[in-house]
């Protein structure tokens, strides 16, 4: 269990402050603002995955598809009803929440294992990818359409900063809100139920925990966050096509981010997103064609050797070096933490 209390709040404020300042040195470069925004976006996807997979053993592999539902729904509702995207977004997020909730509910009722859920959702991902291409009337097919919602240009003009910078701060706002919600959730009764269910479902049921209910709640919360993240992802691209919501473009990256950062760690998604986007930015210069293959290989490596996250692992290595140099058994307590999977 996490024991984030007041010091946790201070840490979160510090992280927020770093991200508030981060664009200032690079504000002139659209490229770097883009990288920073993608860090936040994938931290958001990974945070959702942390709730539903990390804490709940439901491996959602249709985050791209779910994000796409969010993005297309926001645009379509805003367009057909004629309201601002700010009003359409909650509707879209709610829809994504309900879709995710249904998947979780069915999986929990039928007692699907983590493997079965991942197969089920991967299939949904493939179906949704096809549907986004096929439903040309709604999505514009693979040609897509410009995605410049949320009146961000107007704000940028009024304040006198580039549009991507304003968008960056909007995404940051959503990420920080999600972080606060996450910390609250995990330290509440819900977090305790999640932990009990993850460790031993039968024991959890035997002490009165409604396993189906809590798994469904976790699915809903993750679905809402993924819907918002997907919409912001399209907005960041300024143009929506089905390809930005593919399995490789979203799910693989979010999963790598979560595992790199450390599953069930509060700041895991943020740390992981920084590391992965740094790798991604480097690859895009040298080996763009190999991107998918390299991330696939990375994912395998991570699952084999770094399941507790790069940070914990690195700390372990450092501590074990300390031990070999200076003696003393400091490494053991960290070792047990690192062994959790």
């Amino acid at each position: 269990m996490n024991t984030e209390t007041l010091p946790g709040t201070r840490k979160l404020a510090l992280v927020a402050a770093v991200f508030v300042i981060a664009p200032i040195p690079v504000a002139g470069s659209g490229y770097y603002i883009g990288v920073l925004s993608r860090i936040l976006l994938f931290a958001l996807f990974a945070l959702a995955l942390n709730i539903v997979f990390g804490h709940n053993d439901q491996l959602f592999l249709f985050m791209g598809g779910l994000g796409g539902i969010g993005a297309y729904t926001t645009a379509l509702v805003a367009d057909t009803v004629g309201v601002t995207a700010w009003l359409a977004l909650p509707v879209a997020a709610l829809l994504c929440g309900v879709v995710a909730l249904s998947v979780s509910w069915i999986s929990a009722r039928r007692r699907f294992t983590v493997i079965l859920i991942s197969i089920l959702t991967l299939n949904l991902q493939l179906v949704l990818s096809e549907a986004f291409v096929g439903a040309r009337d709604l999505t514009g097919g693979s040609t897509g359409f410009p995605y410049e919602l949320f009146s961000i240009e107007a704000v940028a003009e009024a304040v006198g900063v580039p549009t991507p910078v304003v968008l960056y701060y909007v995404i940051l706002g959503f990420l920080m809100a999600a972080m606060v919600a996450y910390v609250w959730l995990i330290n509440s009764k819900y977090g305790m139920a999640f932990e009990a269910i993850r460790e031993d479902e039968a024991a959890a049921e035997s002490i009165g925990i409604d396993v189906v209910r809590y798994k469904t709640i976790a699915g809903f919360v993750a679905g809402v966050i993924i819907g918002i993240a997907g919409t912001l992802l399209a907005r960041e691209a300024t143009y929506i096509t089905p390809s930005i919501f593919s399995f490789v473009a979203v799910d693989v990256i979010a999963l790598v981010v979560l595992i790199v950062g450390g599953i069930r760690r509060t700041y895991g998604p943020i740390v992981g997103a920084v590391v992965v986007e740094a790798i991604e930015a480097t690859l895009s210069n040298y080996a763009a064609n190999w991107r998918a293959a390299i991330f696939g290989a990375l994912l395998i490596l991570l699952f084999l050797y770094f399941r507790s996250g790069v940070i914990v692992r690195a700390r372990d290595l450092l501590e074990s070096r300390d031990v070999s140099f200076g003696g003393g058994g400091g490494g053991t307590s960290v070792e047990t933490e690192a062994d959790t999977d």
Binding site: M1, E195, A196, I207, G208, I209, D210
Partner: protein, 242 residues
């Protein structure tokens, strides 16, 4: 408080529990014994909703039809259990384990502060109060069993089902455990239905004992009556039983 009639459970062609009737009165400690494969744990799993029994089975608890409830609802109605192979939440602390019982098992919505108070109280009841901050997986088995018991006590149940809670314990530990079980009833007004293979523990503690063999009830009575019962002796020592 717990009344069961004609409990039947089949696994394919095997009839694991075959028309068993019993009841548990408030304030009783009832033992459930029988050779391996007699259907004792299957009976527990049927009572707690883990297994669905065959048609014709009737189980009520405080007047409520348990067959209509899910496992977690049965727990919330005041009927909790421990497991044959101990199932504490290993990555949680001892206190957190006890708190889960108070938080989710009591059938009422209580604050986290109140749940923690009840959790500590339950730990003190089984004598684990000084281990509150230990990770549960690091406790020796005997203490994990006490913790499992504390987790049910924290939810303030009416009845607990104990599944071989004394197995693997030393004679000293069994003595302590038997005392704790007596105190469940005497101090906490919790009734006990207890599967056990260790005869000394159960004979010295239970008010009444039910004996199962091949899914059927072959005897029921006070520990003295059961000791003197020929059918029971045969069930345990008979040539065709392993």
């Amino acid at each position: 408080m717990l009344e069961a009639a004609n409990v039947r459970k089949k696994f394919g062609g095997l009839v694991a529990v075959d028309g068993v009737d019993f009841d548990i009165q408030r304030g009783e400690i009832v033992g459930l014994i029988g050779p391996n494969g007699a259907g004792k744990t299957t009976l527990f799993n049927t009572i707690t909703g883990v297994l669905d029994p065959e048609e014709g089975t009737e189980i009520t608890f405080n007047g409520e039809d348990l067959l209509a409830l899910d496992t977690h609802e049965i727990a919330r109605s005041g009927l909790l259990r421990t497991f044959q192979i101990v199932r504490v939440f290993g990555e949680m602390t001892v206190l957190e384990n006890a708190v889960t019982g108070a938080l989710f098992g009591s059938g009422e919505s209580i604050s986290q502060e109140k749940a923690e108070r009840r959790g500590r109280e339950a730990l003190a009841f089984v004598g684990l109060e000084d281990k509150a901050e230990t990770e549960a997986a690091n406790l020796p088995i005997a203490q994990q069993k006490q913790l499992e018991l504390a987790r049910t006590v924290a939810s303030d149940p009416d009845l607990v089902l104990l599944d071989e809670i004394a197995s693997g314990l030393t004679p000293g530990e069994i003595e302590t455990l038997s005392n704790t079980i007596r105190r469940l009833r005497d101090d906490r007004n919790i009734s006990v239905f207890w599967i056990e293979h260790i005869m000394d523990a159960i004979m010295g503690t239970a008010d009444r004992i039910i004996v199962l063999k091949n899914g059927r009830k072959i005897a029921e009575g006070t520990p003295e009556e059961i000791r003197a019962n020929e059918a029971v002796t045969e069930a345990y020592l008979g040539a065709d039983e392993s």
